[in-house]
């Protein structure tokens, strides 16, 4: 069961239309290292984790990623909601508008739709936790690129929050990876 709470995890202070930034932010909404990939990846991998700690951690970080997906969706929604079709066309979003109007569709910054091929679940907890740590680093890098692409203080603020969460998640996954490896070695299960 999941419960939706009618509140964002972090406030989104975006007041102006900025189609170029909206397009770049799609990377974190429907791209390979997006919040959507992160959420689906962790919530998929948790079933085959060997420890209760890892099951809990993947459930909780996976759930937080969905809250981050909502933050990015909210940013894009606010950045494009008042745009005219002509403005969208000028920013090379005419193709997007043709297919999705002003809906917030999970595609990347180049318009390529999200796919489960972006994620992996191998059933090997050591391999999966390594993937998760790499994913957090890739998302951190993407946020650093996005922060450099805008001067808007509201967007920067929310992106900095999301960047910091990637660092914390990386830390927690690393701690669990160490424990899982210790236990696997102790049990001599390979």
């Amino acid at each position: 069961m999941w419960l939706y709470e009618k509140i964002l995890e972090y406030p989104v202070r975006v007041y102006k239309t900025d189609l170029r930034m909206a397009k770049y932010l799609m990377a974190q909404y429907g791209g390979p290292d997006s919040e959507l990939s992160a959420g689906v990846r962790y919530l998929t991998q948790r079933y085959s984790m060997p420890t209760n700690r890892a099951k809990g951690l993947l459930t909780d970080i996976g759930t937080e990623e969905l809250a981050h997906w909502e933050i990015i969706g909210t940013m894009i929604y606010k950045l494009i909601k008042d745009a005219t079709p002509e403005q969208l066309r000028q920013e090379d979003l005419g193709g997007y508008f043709t297919e999705h109007g002003q809906a917030i569709y999970p595609a990347d910054a180049s318009g390529i739709p999200w796919t489960a091929a972006y994620i992996q679940a191998t059933g090997d907890p050591v391999t999966d936790l390594h993937e998760d740590m790499a994913a957090e680093q890739k998302a951190r890098t993407t946020y650093e690129h996005l922060i450099r692409l805008t001067d808007d203080p509201g967007i920067k603020d929310a992106l900095r929050f999301l960047r910091e969460r990637e660092v914390v998640h990386f830390q927690r996954f690393g701690e669990e990876l160490n424990r899982v490896q210790e236990e696997l070695i102790a049990n001599k299960v390979f």
Binding site: L3, I7, L8, E9, E70, T74, V168, R172
Partner: protein, 85 residues
Amino acid sequence: MDHIQMQMLRDIQKLEFTAIELTLYLDTHPDEQAPLNDYNKTAEKLDSLKMLYEKTYGPLMAYGFSSSPCPWRWIEGPWPWEITL
């Protein structure tokens, strides 16, 4: 949305963030007493603040986690992505 509602939402957001951060920490450090105490204190504060908020501004959650007067207040806007303050 008025400024009092906005301020209450911000206060809930802050406490929820504390709870999220402590949840993840406790997942990998389940035997540490101090963060557990912080978590329990945060949960208690969050409970009472949410109850206060919901009395005036309607449910934050559906599926039986908060009650509603008539008409059903869950569907009242603004939704989180529509808040402009």
